[in-house]
């Protein structure tokens, strides 16, 4: 199994009009890490993520994967090596589930084992011939994840992948993604506004605010209050909720 890729941002900046969505971010992510990128909407986390697979081109600075600038060579070649999952899934509505998952093969990649990919995301094989419109939201996102991994990508980018799902599905799918990360030896970057999800799934949590990384710590460090004021404010919410829930349980 090839080593999971390592990733680096060097002085990355992207502005829209007058506002800097990403402001001079420099950061290294070693191969194999599961990184959660947290922040409120508008903090720049999605923009930062999309500079990796060049869906967004930065104004300054660069991104490297294993030392190579992602800006070199044609974008489609880069993207075929990177799995990309996002909130709206974007399944091709005119194709079946199997055809969606096999798309990396159709556009020039290696043969795709559709059955194996369905197993990885815990979907029954008889869904293969369905059209996306016949699936539930959770099933659709599982197909989206299967499609993202079908091209043998070792780098997985996820942009609010569970944002539109109910809490039960969300929890199950989060665990499955973490499982796949470990089984397949991936480097994963998960953008989420849900700090609890970040704390539970990631090895490392980056907190973004106004285009800058304001906290960079492990979940344990964040919970111990070592992340600074913005991170503390974010962590306080689930912590208070957990306390309140425990109080109700204890009181009942």
């Amino acid at each position: 199994m090839p080593a999971p890729p390592c990733l680096a941002f060097e002085g990355l900046t992207k502005a829209y009009g007058g506002t800097r969505a990403v402001d001079d971010v420099t950061l290294a992510i070693p191969g194999g890490q599961f990184v959660a990128l947290v922040g409120q909407s508008g903090s720049g986390k999605s923009t930062l993520l999309k500079t990796i697979n060049r869906l967004i081109v930065p104004d300054a600075g660069r991104v490297t994967i294993d030392g190579a600038d992602v800006g070199d060579g044609p974008a489609p070649h880069l993207r075929r090596r990177i799995g990309y999952v996002f909130q709206n899934v974007g399944l091709f509505p005119h194709l079946t589930v199997a055809e969606n998952i096999a798309m990396p093969q159709r556009i020039g990649g290696a043969p795709v084992d559709v059955g194996g990919r369905l197993d990885q995301v815990e979907l029954p094989h008889d869904l293969a011939d369905r059209s996306p419109a016949q699936l539930s939201g959770g099933q659709r996102q599982r197909v989206g994840i299967a499609r993202a991994l079908a091209g043998e990508a070792k780098l997985l980018l996820m942009d609010e992948p569970f944002g539109a799902l109910d809490p039960v599905t969300r929890d199950a799918l989060g665990r499955r993604v973490r499982g796949l990360h470990d089984e397949l030896g991936l480097t994963t970057i998960l953008v989420t506004h849900d700090i609890a999800e970040a704390l539970l799934l990631a090895d490392r949590v980056l907190v973004m605010d106004a285009g800058r990384i304001v906290a960079d710590a492990t979940p344990a460090e964040l919970l111990a209050g070592k992340g600074g004021p913005v991170a503390d404010a974010l962590v306080a919410v689930p912590r208070e909720q957990a306390r309140a829930l425990a109080a109700i349980e204890g009181g009942g």
Binding site: N53, L55, P74, A75, P76, H77, L78, R79, R80, R81, I82, Y84, F86, N88, V89, G90, L91, F92, P93, H94, M103, P104, R106, I107, G144, R147, A148, G151
Partner: protein, 509 residues
């Protein structure tokens, strides 16, 4: 009457060939333009703006506009017939396809496009694998609209010399044969509905992703086109000749008379009718038609641009030499009658106003209304006679020739440029005004053969018995049979009547 219906297969073929060629060309232009426009809003603004502008031009005007445009190529491209009709109809077909294509592409779910990019598709792959299949039903709806428009507008291509079902409509309008108009309308509308129905099946199949339905509908369409075009293949070969006719009764009758003789001589005969004056000679010179009847004065003043008015025989000789020298066209001879422009008034009005000549008319003209056919006011003959006599009318209105006579009899016009061979001059008791200054040239009906037929001895032999064989009284009678309101005859019947009354050729010395 039934003779006219036998032409439907040929005209249907021509109509299908013209309208579907235009549709195909429209698709070839509109689809890449739609893709380009969808990616560049500035291109979309210009392309959609131009296409919408074209749509505001009446189809007839669009057809007419291509004539000078193609003429400006200096003869490199034929200015008349199939090409201008094809180009005008193609422009017409572009807008609905382009508009639907752009709407479809810009309206696609952004998530699907993001996924296509994210998975690593190139632009071409995204277009082929994602955008094209998703937009296909919307584009198909645009193609349906374009097909119906094109098939409908193709009926107007008769006016620029391209054959279509419009020939029936124009011929019917000219000879006031309303059943012919109706047949032309029904055939064109039926064709449009049939094509629309098949394309609707394709659209539905694309939307529901039923490949068998799409394939089946396309097979039906191809089979239908092949069936409709079959007469064209059958018509190929050296044995087929095309007889041309301008858009009035005498021309329809003479075309049938010529056609019947050629048919008897073993040729397969087709007709191209309703040609404009300028169109007809060009069509002959370029070989689109093989034979037709024109009038010496018309060619003398219009094609040759001559201002002088020599005697009739000199004009015929001049036209004969010019046609052979400049175009390789053979003037086989005069038919024996003249169809000149002759100013005519209602007999009672002429008596009351004391008008017997154009010179008399010039004095009264400022209080009178002139009713003309659609081309007279643009012709050099009008300028010549106007300048010679100083004619100035209170008003001038153009009518289709049939309605020009109606305008005169109803009093909406006081004077008309009638045709001297027209049976209605006698039937309506019109007074023909004398031309003391000889401003109007002679208009001997002459038989013209295309360059390809100029040396065809069998062809010339079949038509030679018509030379000098039709006195003006006989022609007037035949014209009246078609033009009169009661006991109306078809041009075919009048041609048969005329064939039985040909004057024996003078014995050769």
């Amino acid at each position: 009457m039934s003779d006219a219906f036998t032409r439907i297969p040929d005209l249907l073929s021509a109509h299908v060939l013209l309208s579907l060629s235009a549709l195909a060309l429209g698709i070839v232009i509109a689809l890449p333009l739609a893709v380009w426009s969808a990616r560049h809003p500035a291109v979309a603004r210009v392309a959609l703006g131009l296409a919408s502008l074209v749509q505001t031009i009446p189809a007839l005007a669009l057809l007419a506009l291509f004539y000078p445009l193609l003429l400006a190529t200096g003869g490199a491209l034929p200015a008349l017939g199939f090409l201008p009709a094809l180009l005008a109809l193609t422009l017409y077909a572009v807008l609905p396809i382009l508009r639907n294509g752009v709407t479809g592409l810009t309206g696609l779910d952004p998530a699907v496009i993001e996924a296509a990019d994210g998975v690593g598709m190139t632009r071409a792959q995204r277009l082929r694998l994602v955008e094209a299949p998703l937009v296909a039903p919307i584009v198909m709806a645009g193609i349906r609209t374009a097909a119906v428009w094109t098939i409908g507008a193709a009926t107007l291509s008769t006016t620029v010399g391209a054959a279509s079902l419009g020939d029936l409509i124009f011929a019917g309008l000219q000879t006031q044969n309303w059943s012919l108009v109706l047949v032309g309308c029904i055939a064109a509308a039926g064709l449009a509905m049939a094509v629309d129905l098949i394309l609707a099946a394709v659209e539905h199949g694309l939307a529901k992703r039923r490949r068998w339905q799409v394939r089946g509908a396309i097979v039906a369409l191809v089979a239908g086109i092949a069936l409709a075009l079959a007469p064209l293949w059958a018509a190929g070969g050296a044995g087929t000749v095309t007889v041309g006719a301008k858009g009035f009764s005498e021309q329809y009758i003479l075309a049938k008379l010529i056609g019947d003789r050629l048919d008897a001589a073993g040729y397969r005969v087709r007709y191209r009718e309703g040609l404009g004056s300028a169109v007809a000679f060009e069509a002959l010179a370029s070989g689109d038609i093989d034979v037709y009847v024109d009038y010496s004065g018309t060619l003398w003043t219009n094609q040759m641009q001559r201002k002088d008015v020599p005697p009739r025989a000199a004009i015929v000789r001049g036209v004969t030499d010019w046609a052979r020298r400049e175009h390789g066209v053979r003037l086989l001879g005069s038919l024996g009658f003249e169809n000149a422009y002759a100013f005519a008034m209602r007999g009672d009005r002429a008596r009351v106003l004391g008008i017997a000549s154009i010179a008399d008319l010039a004095r009264a003209a400022p209080r009178l209304r002139l009713g003309t056919d659609v081309e007279f006011l643009e012709r050099p003959e009008w300028r010549s006679v106007r300048d010679a006599y100083g004619l100035r009318f209170a008003a001038a209105n153009a009518y289709h020739p049939t309605f020009m006579y109606r305008a005169l009899s109803s009093g909406r016009a006081d004077v008309i440029p009638a045709f001297s061979s027209d049976g209605r001059i006698a039937a309506d008791r019109l007074t023909v005004l004398a031309d003391p200054k000889g401003a109007l040239p002679g208009y001997d009906a002459v038989l013209l053969l295309s360059p390809a037929r100029a040396g065809d001895a069998k062809f010339a032999a079949a038509l030679r018995p018509l030379i000098g064989a039709i006195p003006v009284e006989t022609m007037r009678e035949a014209n009246l049979q078609v033009d009169r309101d009661t006991d109306k005859q078809s041009p075919e019947a009048a041609a048969r009547w005329l064939a039985g009354r040909l004057r024996r050729p003078p014995a050769s010395p």
